[in-house]
């Protein structure tokens, strides 16, 4: 019989702080690429053979990113240790342990990007795992919250595309779109279509390079993600409007997807200037964890068809 968790306000606040610092880390990482500082520090893990090099030029962004990453790594280890000692839900302890493994792997990937001079595949993997790690920290904040821990009467939902599955699909779509964005960035294809909303003056331009293909796929992906988010929003407000834990993220996701579309346009119109480009990276991260929050809460609130409902209730209590 699984133990019931008791709400620990300080643990939850600390988990929230860790998630927030991870968001700052994502922005710091985005700034490294946006300012072209990825190779400003040629060695790793030391920087010019030092722990604290002069923070000049590109070193400010690259070493600054490493320092924030180190702090987040330590915060994650402390969070995992705290939860290992005090968290009765085994799956939650394991999630915290996974966060430690992922942040260490992410540090390793960061080192590999520098040592091997920013190979595209490793840079994209570093971006993708960053979003995965950010998602885990947000999930830890969510599952330690009082609204999650309080007992919930899970209701069954019918339908092949019931809200939990719909929201999960939309979240995966956002993640795929983020990976596409990372591929655009790390193949230098941000201006493969130098105009917006047309591409080279046409709705369907000649696709004469991988860069143009990736860029167009990212734009089409934006349309697909917007449609999915709108679909989720309409479903939540149509059928689940009494659940604020769902309405709030659904509304935020709708707003964020509109902001992201605008930031994408601004990125192109301003020839990949640092500010809109980095904000676009941050917006993608926020959209991902907003949809993730909605998805996790939907799974908490509703059960999939009857047979496994009681087993899930046991597992999630």
């Amino acid at each position: 019989m699984s133990e019931t968790a008791a709400y620990n306000a300080w643990l939850h606040r600390y988990a929230m702080l860790t998630a927030f610092c991870t968001f700052l880390l994502v922005i710091a990482g985005g700034l490294v690429t946006s300012t072209g500082s990825g190779l400003a520090v040629p060695d790793w893990p030391l920087s010019y053979g030092m722990f604290f090099p002069p923070m000049v030029g590109g070193i400010l962004y690259e070493h600054g990113h490493r320092m924030i990453a180190g702090a987040v790594g330590i915060m994650t280890m402390l969070l995992a240790a705290w939860m290992w000692r005090s968290e009765p839900r085994r799956w939650a302890r394991r999630l915290a342990a996974a966060a430690v493994l992922v942040v260490l792997a992410q540090a390793g990937l960061g080192g590999l990007t520098v040592i091997f001079l920013l190979p595209t595949a490793i840079s994209v993997a570093h971006a993708g795992l960053a979003m995965g790690f950010f998602s885990i920290t947000c999930a830890l904040a969510l599952v330690t919250s009082s609204s999650w821990i309080g007992s919930v009467e899970r209701q069954p939902l019918e339908g092949s595309m019931a809200l939990p599955r719909l929201a999960a699909t939309a979240t995966l779509a956002v993640y795929a779109q983020i990976l596409l964005g990372a591929m655009v960035r790390h193949t230098g294809s941000g201006l493969a279509c130098p105009d917006f909303p047309l591409c080279n003056g046409q709705v369907i331009p000649p696709i004469d390079s991988i860069g143009v293909a990736l860029h167009l796929m990212h734009r089409l992906g934006a349309v697909a993600v917007a449609c999915m988010v709108i679909w989720v929003y309409r479903r939540v407000l149509g059928s689940h409007a009494t659940v604020p834990g769902l309405v709030v993220p659904a509304t935020m996701a709708l707003t964020l997807v509109a902001v992201q579309l605008l930031l994408g346009a601004l990125t192109v119109w301003n020839a990949l200037a640092v500010e809109p480009t980095t904000a676009h990276v941050g917006g993608g991260a926020l959209l991902l964890i907003t949809m993730l929050t909605l998805t996790l809460r939907a799974h908490r609130q509703y059960s999939v068809p009857a047979a496994s409902a009681s087993a899930e209730r046991e597992a999630l209590a």
Binding site: P45, L46, M50, P54, G57, R94, I115
Partner: protein, 261 residues
């Protein structure tokens, strides 16, 4: 189970860290394996009845306004220039209306291989600028990059030709040097990521017949065998130009190129 996973992950992390520390040593890097000297490699000093191609690179039209470099990112760089403005070297039009830093080289017409010079070519970082902005050397010849600043620099070069390896060296201390060589002919951009305005170009040829246009726009290529050649002039912002040149024994061919805004 989880302890094994954590141990394995930490082992991977440690291995990456060791590789990283090992990868920091950069005493000689950049080029591929130097090619063994061909038995019939020609020493240009031994060319009988050597010819010369010389000339001028003209700039046609109004000289563009030089972009003033913003060096505030590193206070050392500002003080190194004692308050005077430093202008970008991307397009340098000399006072006599000629163009500086054009890489002129023989592109076609040579069918010999040439000995690799033993002397080292030096690329310096001083006042947070590369000196010179455009430099030429032969394949497998040693290029020594030296930090003459009390500032950190990284030297980041991304050649694309097979045999030329990309590199990114850290030079935190004044006086540090890194030696590189390149196995293939290519014009390679070099930059510093700490100081984003720093940019230079390395022109690598597999023969000794190249020059960089000087502060009066002139260039001279000596010790050529007499013959028919295609000579190219390359500038970083404008399309490369070529000319056919025939030069006789002990003769000098005068050519000029016109680059415009």
């Amino acid at each position: 189970m989880h302890k094994k996973a954590i141990t394995a992950s930490l082992a991977v992390f440690a291995a990456v860290a060791v590789a990283a520390c090992g990868g920091g040593d950069t005493s000689t890097a950049g080029g591929g394996t130097p090619a063994p000297a061909a038995a019939d490699a020609v020493d240009p000093a031994s060319i009988a009845d050597p010819a010369t191609i010389s000339g001028t690179i003209n700039f046609v039209g109004d000289a563009p306004e030089g972009q003033v470099l913003q060096m505030a990112a590193d206070p050392y760089c500002l003080t190194a220039h004692a308050g005077t403005e430093v202008v970008s070297q991307r397009v340098v039009v000399n006072d006599n209306g000629t163009l500086r830093y054009v890489f002129v080289y023989v592109k076609e017409g040579l069918d010999q291989t040439f000995t690799t010079p033993a002397d080292t070519i030096e690329l310096s970082q001083e006042g947070c600028m590369y000196a010179p902005h455009m430099i030429g050397l032969q394949t497998n010849q040693t290029l020594s990059v030296i930090n003459n600043d009390e500032a950190l620099h990284n030297i980041n070069a991304r050649p694309t030709e097979a045999g030329n390896n990309p590199f990114n060296f850290a030079q935190p201390i004044k006086g540090m040097t890194n030696d590189v060589s390149f196995a293939s002919a290519e014009i390679i951009p070099v930059k510093c990521d700490v100081h984003p305005w720093m940019q230079a170009y390395i022109g690598v040829t597999n023969h000794p017949y190249f020059a960089v246009s000087s502060a009066d726009g002139s260039f001279t290529i000596n010790n050529l065998p007499a013959g028919d050649y295609v000579v190219a002039a390359w500038h970083e912002t404008m399309d490369e130009q070529t000319q056919n040149v025939t030069v006789g024994a002990n003769a000098t061919a005068e050519i000029s190129f016109d680059f415009g805004s």
